[in-house]
Structure formats: structure tokens, C-alpha cells
Amino acid sequence: MTLAIYQVDLTLLEHTFFASREVGLLYETEPVIGNYALTYALGWCVSPYNWDGPPRYKQDLLPLNRQGRYVTPATFLPGRLRFAFSQFNAQSDSYYFRFDQNAIALERSRKARAMNFPQAGKIRLLAAESRARFYALLPGEAAPALPRYIRLGKFNSKARLDWQPLHLLTSEPQEQEQVVDFFLNAADLPDAMLSTLRSFTLYNIPPAPLVRQARLRGPFWTGRLPGGEVVHLPAGMHYGVETLP
């Protein structure tokens, strides 16, 4: 199976929100886009419109390992990230309403029961025109469906993708030691490589921790961009969702 690797630049065209961290009434998006979210956004796996249950990572992502498809998390480019803040509050469709303890009451005489989701708060979003980069690996013989626009996050915010193919310098991955500057998903690295992980910055975020500036030893793909720049990417990354709870 041959492999095609793309470097993808992602430009947010609207404010984008992920509930990565909740601090009291502040709901924050962390400055990264997880690769599971990207996989869904790219349309590589279909998730139903209606779903009543826990996350579907195992059933949705495992088939992609067999197809040989993978994307890395998106790392924001230096100087290309801004945040935006906004406040939100829920509203009912009745004429009379009253804010009770974390609930909206519709009836004058009856107290509403508190809800298990936020009625008001502040959100921190990734701002429009921020730019991030990720790598997509697909089987070479697959007719690549490379979408130009995708939607991300809780509010389905639009983003543009610019794809650049990597020209692979070798037909097989080569044993190397590299410091990988951009975000990698620690759960997705091959076991043999994980044991060589020496210095790294850990970013703890659900559902799986991310690492960057990681010094790794093992098989690497090396490819050249049309502009001449050379990129090293760990070989053998796959969705490590079977290890997730």
C-alpha cells in the first residue's frame, strides 16, 4: 500500500468553539484542534445525526486504521492565533420567563429544576482568521477527496483547507532521531516509539494527551514540500482509540 502525505493549512473563517476546559462560568477553547475532531470534520467517518450514548471513537475511528488513513492534531502557527470572548445566555420561547437556579422557569408559580447544562456564562473561542497546520496521511491509491471547506466545533464554524502534497524522499520509513515541533497525539504513536519519548511538552486535554517538541527515535517519513521545505513525520501513527476508556 503506497502512502500519500499532505501538509494542510487550516484557516478559521469564523470564531470556533470547543469545550476543552471549563472553569466556573468560563468555557474555554484550548489553542489546538484535536485530531479526532478533524477526522470527523473531514468526513472520513460518518456519525449519525441522532445519537444517544457515549462517544463513538472506537466504532468510528478504528476502521480508518485498516484503511491506512490518519491525521495529526492541528498546531497553530506562531503569531497566527487570536482568541475571542463572548457571553451567552439561554432563552425560552415563552412570553413570561424567569431565571431560577441554572434553569429558566416558564410558569409564575412553579420553580424550575436546575439543569445539567449551562444557562449562562462566558466563552473563549478561537478567533476568525487564525491559522493552524496539520498532516494528513492517506493510502496513495485512494482517490483523494480533499475538501476545501470543513466545519469544526460546537457551533459548526467554517474553516478553509489548503492542501500541499509531500514528495516522499524514500519509499520506506527510515530510522531517525527527530524533535517534532508540532502537536502529536500521544495515544496514537506506535508503542516502540513511545518508549523512546525523551523530552517533550505534555498538553493534557480530553480525550487523549497531546505532546509537542517531542524528541523521538524510530521510523520516520521524510518528505519535501513543493516549496523545498523538508518535513519529518513519525511513521506508524494510527488512532489509538482502543486504549481509551
Partner: protein, 337 residues
């Protein structure tokens, strides 16, 4: 004979719509390109009374010489759907088509944000819900942040407001104390143009008519909408495709460039002329669609769009037929697995 089968115009575009609701995505996209034009003072803010409008620093245009950052006023995504959903729910309520939910031991009507969506009405099925113990339904109507064409400095103003007592003065008639209720609101000027795209995904013909009707029947957006906030929605194109098309921000930037060129200045001359904006939107649409990766999209505009909108208009003018359609669509959700 079903009401759906009577849409002679819409049925031309059948292959871009679904026959029946399906729980899995098919990638059939309908993008409705809108010009939203304010027709009174309007306020779009998130921080409450006395605070400023929502503005964003974005790139002005797409050409070399217009790539400087400017502030634009934003109508955020949720402030659009919130209004249009309510307009639709009004209609469903009127025809008795909102479902009921059992909460504890009593039946309650489907209501927004009460943690008890019915999950059976058209609104729940099209615009989605996520609450309670009944799982979640993703929205199949996606809105985009809408940006003002002109920079915020050209299309906003401020007004001082005060609240007087019953006697019409700022002195309390009972104790003679002065009122503290005086503040300033920033607002969007009348005749400000916002560009907007609403994307419908995998909808049936009946659902399409419902969403389109909601867009055309929504007239008040933003804060204090009982006294201001009039907005007119003009549909300039409906685009059928198998993938997402360009974004609002790109459309706004492209149209901004074309307007500057048409007006021949280096700053927009406001208020903008409707026909000119529409012409520039059509031209920008063509330019931006060239970038698209996928089956060439079908762009419906001009006369064809007129016929499509006429069909929707006629449907809404015949309450019995409309009711029949809404009942048909509601019934189609009955036997979902």
C-alpha cells in the same frame, strides 16, 4: 396526493435533496445566500445593556491593496438561528404540531431550553437539540457569523437613553431623588448590509420549504427587538452542492473589493445600493466557486430563483396546504428506528 409532490419547481432539484430523513449524512448541501439588511436601529451584542456591539477585527478585502485589518460588526451565528427557530415554532404551535414530553408525571409541550425537547417536531428534527435523557439530534441548519460589508465606523452610532418615572421626569415622584437610569447604547444604523449564508444539509423538500419560510418570515433580530431590530432578509441565490462552499467571510471580503471598484473610491459610500450589492454578490459567488473541489455546484438565481421563491410564497399563502405539508413532514419522523 402528497403536498410534497406538488412542488413542480423544487422537484427539479430533487437529486440534491433527500426523499426521507436519514440518520446518517449524505453530503447533500443547500446553501442559501442572503443579504440581511437592517431597516431600523439594531443592536447585536453579547455583554448586555450599555455595552458595545459585537465587532471583529478582520481583513478588509482579498486584493493586495485591501488587505488591511478593519473592524466589522458581526451578527453571530446563534443570534440568527434563535430567531428563525422561534418563528418556525410559532407556526408549528399554531397548527398543534409541537410534540409533548413527559416530565416526571405530567405532559408538557415542547419548549426551547427547558431540558425537555419533544424530539418529534420539525423544529427538533431540523434545527437539532441536545438535552435531557433522550440523546441528541445534530442540527442540519448551519448558520455563519454574518459580517457587515462596511467597516463598523461607517455603520454604527451611539444613542443616550434614559428611563423616566411615571411623571415623565428623572425625579422620583415619591421621594424626589434623581434617577440613575441614564446610559449609552451603540447601535447599527438602518440600511446596513450584512452578507450571510445558511447551509442546509440532507434536508427533504418539506424541510427545505420550512427553513426557507422561516428565513423569509423572520423580521426582528438582536436586542430590544420589540422596538427595534428590524431586518429584511433577501435571498440572492440558492446553491446545491455535494460539499461545503465558500465562507461568509470570504464572500464579504470579495464583495467589499467589488463594491470599492464599482464606487471608485477607497472607502465605501454608505448606505449601499441594494441592486449594486446584489450584483456584486452574484459576481463574487462565481469567483469563489471556482476554488471548489467537488461536483460543480448548481447555482439557482435570477428567474429560476424567482420561480423557486414564488412556490414557497404560494405555499405559505394557502394555510390548508401548508398545514398539510407540515403534517406530512411531522408524520415522516414517526417510525424512525
Amino acid at each position: 396526493m402528497s403536498v410534497t409532490s406538488t412542488f413542480t419547481v423544487l422537484n427539479h432539484y430533487r437529486e440534491y435533496l433527500l426523499e426521507h430523513y436519514d440518520n446518517f449524512p449524505h453530503g447533500r448541501y443547500v446553501s442559501v445566500i442572503l443579504i440581511r439588511k437592517t431597516e431600523s436601529e439594531t443592536i447585536f451584542r453579547t455583554e448586555g445593556s450599555g455595552e458595545g456591539l459585537v465587532k471583529e477585527l478582520v481583513t478588509a478585502g482579498r486584493r493586495e491593496d485591501t488587505r488591511e485589518p478593519i473592524q466589522r460588526v458581526v451578527i453571530s451565528k446563534r443570534k440568527q438561528t434563535a430567531v428563525e427557530r422561534r418563528v418556525g415554532r410559532e407556526l408549528l404551535r399554531e397548527h398543534g404540531l409541537l410534540g409533548t414530553v413527559t416530565v416526571g408525571r405530567e405532559q408538557r409541550p415542547c419548549a426551547l431550553n427547558t431540558n425537555a425537547p419533544c424530539g418529534k417536531c420539525i423544529d427538533c428534527m431540523v434545527y437539532g437539540y441536545a438535552a435531557g435523557g433522550g440523546g441528541a439530534q445534530k442540527s442540519r441548519v448551519m448558520t455563519d457569523d454574518a459580517y457587515s460589508l462596511a467597516p463598523a465606523s461607517l455603520v454604527t452610532g451611539t444613542r443616550t437613553f434614559n428611563a423616566t418615572f411615571d411623571n415623565g421626569t428623572m425625579r422620583n415622584p415619591f421621594d424626589g431623588k434623581a434617577s440613575t437610569s441614564i446610559n449609552e447604547d451603540e447601535y447599527v444604523l438602518p440600511e446596513t448590509h450584512f452578507l450571510d449564508t445558511e447551509t442546509l444539509k440532507d434536508v427533504t423538500p418539506g424541510e427545505f420549504q420550512y427553513v426557507l419560510g422561516n428565513i423569509l418570515r423572520s423580521t426582528r433580530y438582536g436586542a430590544i427587538s420589540s422596538r427595534q431590530g428590524r431586518v429584511r432578509n433577501m435571498i440572492t441565490a440558492v446553491i446545491f452542492s455535494d460539499t461545503e462552499i465558500f465562507s461568509n467571510l470570504e464572500l464579504t471580503q470579495e464583495v467589499y473589493d467589488l463594491l470599492l471598484e464599482a464606487q471608485g473610491g477607497n472607502e465605501l459610500d454608505v448606505p449601499l445600493n441594494d441592486a449594486l450589492v446584489e450584483r456584486c454578490v452574484q459576481q463574487a459567488t462565481d469567483t469563489l466557486l471556482r476554488d471548489l473541489v467537488g461536483r460543480p455546484p448548481l447555482v439557482v438565481r435570477g428567474e429560476a430563483l424567482g420561480r423557486l421563491l414564488e412556490e414557497t410564497l404560494m405555499l405559505y399563502r394557502e394555510p390548508e396546504r401548508l398545514k398539510g405539508l407540515l403534517e406530512e413532514v411531522t408524520a415522516s419522523y414517526k417510525d424512525l428506528p
